[in-house]
Structures are given as C-alpha cells and as structure tokens.
Symmetry: C3
Subunit: 152 residues, 3 copies
C-alpha cells in the first residue's frame, strides 16, 4: 500500500508545483473534502477554516476562479514531502499523515520558505490506483487566506 499512496502524494505535490491544477483536481474523488486549517486553530479547538471545498465541483470552481484572477503566474511553488505515516485502513479507505515543506520562488529566482505543516489524508485504493477522499492541510505556518492563493 505504501507505494501506491506515496505515488499519489508525489503526484499531488508535483502537479501543484507545475501549475497543473486542473489535473491536480482529478486526483480527488467526487465526494471529496479538501480543507486548509492552521495548527494553532486545531490545537485550540477553534473551528476556523481557511479554505474548505466539500466536493470536487467546489474544488473545480476554486481552480477556475484562481485562473480568472491570475493571468500570469506570480511565483513557482515547490513541495518537498517526507515519508508517509500510514495509520490504518477501513476496507479500501486508508488514512495517513505526511509532513510537507513548501517553498516559493519569485520570477526573479529568489526562493524562500513559505509554509510547513502536515497533510492528514484519507485515500481510497483500487488496485494500483488511489483517489483522495479527504485532505486536511494543517499548516504550522500562519497563512493569509486569499482567492489568489494556489492550493497547498
């Protein structure tokens, strides 16, 4: 299972980094849930959510809005993910955590740390393929929510 899930997350990260967001959406199942929260809010039990799409159509809409607002790409993203902690499964539905570091580079070529945190993921495996059912991005770094932002 580790190989299939690792491949899924490698694809997740590289599709965002290559600005292929429409293909990134296709990694998700129709009834998916994608949200971005801060670790601070999670640990204080606060309900704040920075981004929340509770199905694939919302995710598609978000990417479309992003495309309409951003005629030009303003930076490059680069995700470097750690190894998966596989927590268990309920039939074909697997739960796991992955730590991430996310760097941004300006068009002038200057790179900086943008965000670190953890993905808490549920994915459904069928044979050699897997789909994302639920991705919760728990960012250690405080983030400014924005329509302009690429997904994490």
């Amino acid at each position: 299972m580790r190989d299939v899930l690792t491949a899924l997350m490698a694809e997740y990260a590289l599709l965002i980094d290559e600005d292929r967001l429409e293909e990134w959406v296709e990694l998700f199942d129709e009834g998916c849930d994608y949200r971005v929260v801060t670790r601070e809010n999670v640990e204080q039990g606060l309900p704040n959510v920075l981004i929340w799409c509770d199905n694939k159509n919302m995710l598609r809409d978000r990417v479309e809005s992003y495309r309409n607002v951003n005629l030009y790409n303003l930076h490059y993203d680069r995700h470097v993910l750690g190894p998966l902690r596989i927590l268990g499964h309920d039939g074909p539905l697997w739960r796991f955590d992955v730590s991430y570091s996310l760097f941004q580079t300006t068009l002038e070529g200057e790179s900086r740390l943008f965000s670190v945190g953890r993905y808490s993921v549920e994915a459904r495996i069928a044979g050699e393929t897997a789909w994302l059912e639920k991705v919760t991005v728990i960012a250690d770094t405080g983030l400014i929510p924005s329509l302009l932002a690429t997904p994490i």
Copy 2:
C-alpha cells in the same frame, strides 16, 4: 526492509513534531544509544557530544526533565525527511542514513529553518516492526545544547 524502516522514521519525526515525546521514547530499545553531535566535531575528530543518552531510561529522564521545565510548548517542530540510504545489516540489525530538515514555527505562526543534517541509525527488525538501537544525529547546523530543547 525499506518499508518497515521508512515507516519507523516517519513515526519518529511525526511523534516529535506532535510533541508526543513519551511515545517517541517507546520507539527505542532498552539498550539504545541516542546522541546529538555536530558535523564539524565529527569531521575534526572531536569527542564533543551535545546530548547523549546511552539507554532508554536516560531518554525517559530527559523527556521528563523537559516536561518539568517547559510548562508550555514554545514552538512547533516540523521534520521533513528524505529517502533512506540503507547501508546493510548484521542479522536483524539494519544500518541506514536519512537526511533531515527541521523547521520551527513560533506560536505567532512564523516558520524558519532550524537545523539540517543526517541521522545515522541502527534498527532491529522483527517481522513488520522495528526498534531503534542507535540514533546519532549529525547536525550540519551549529546547535546550542540546552535542557529546554526538544529532541531532533
């Protein structure tokens, strides 16, 4: 073997990052050896060791001291580990290296690079489980030794 050892190191990193240090200690064997050194000292052949616990009880004591000193968590840790270089094994005892990057985030949500370096590890495998026998953290980054510090 790669999967079992990778799972062990994913757990190692995430337990520290979640401040579950008592569970982190349980990844080690009773006769374990945990130490933190700087790369500079290693390359110059100097014997300086910043932290050294040569059995599991010392590791337990260290975590307990840390708990007594730090009533409140002052930052969030985030480890992002690279892939394992597996060096070989002597029966069930496997040796491997892993590079790490370690970021810290203040409670205000500002993240920065804290340390980079390498784990040199010996782990004992039994079936699908593995225990840490020896972990040497070789930090590229110069570090200030402190009772207050979380493990790396």
Copy 3:
C-alpha cells in the same frame, strides 16, 4: 522499481552531501547526460544551460577541476528529496521526477536555503541496481554558474 530508484536517489544526494563526488560520478553510466538549467529558461524555451556534461568523462573532469580549485571545503551541502513520481519506462530505462530542497551550512554552522527544484531523471535498472543515464536539474532558484560549485 520504486525501491531501487529511491535507493539510487538517496545515494545520489548523500554522496554529494558527504563531498564524495568521485563516488557520485560512479552512479552514472558512460554515455550519461548531466545538466543544470533554470526553470525560468525551460518555461521560456531558452536554450541556456548552466552546466552540461554529456558523458561520464566530462563529469569526471568537472569533479577533478573542482578538487583542484577548492583545497578546502567551504560549506556543507544537505539535500532533502521528496518522493519519486515515476513516469514510465522503455524496457529497462525508467523516467521519473523528484523534487529537492538543498541547504548549505557555513563552517561556522549557519544553515540557509540554497536551492529548490526538480530532478528529471532517466535511469537504467538491472536487477537490484540502477545507473543514471540522464539527470536534468531544473532549478526554481536562480543560480550563479561557477566552476567552484558542487553539483546539485
């Protein structure tokens, strides 16, 4: 295949970080191609290449030049690589991508982010071993080409 290719890239990164560049060269095949380009140039369709060795002897020469110029190591490198995206294969020749973060540490122990980007790789697998046929480093970060530079 994932394990063999992951082991290859772990070795690639750690050999550079340990300044064992002569052994790093031995990961490549005789007819190999190693080049470093910037993402900006790739996306603009520009032909600029910062480093280009189109066979193993050129790679050997480059390392030798580096050794002659640098009597002392001026910094420590540390690569942290993400999981592989395996794209496919043509017989024993496999293509994959890997994101990297590269940190440098001065001899005084200060670490900083040096470069992020992606390796686009072709490797030939024979049994449990693999050789690098083509490595293109596509750096998000703008880089100053220099004879003094270690490989990425």
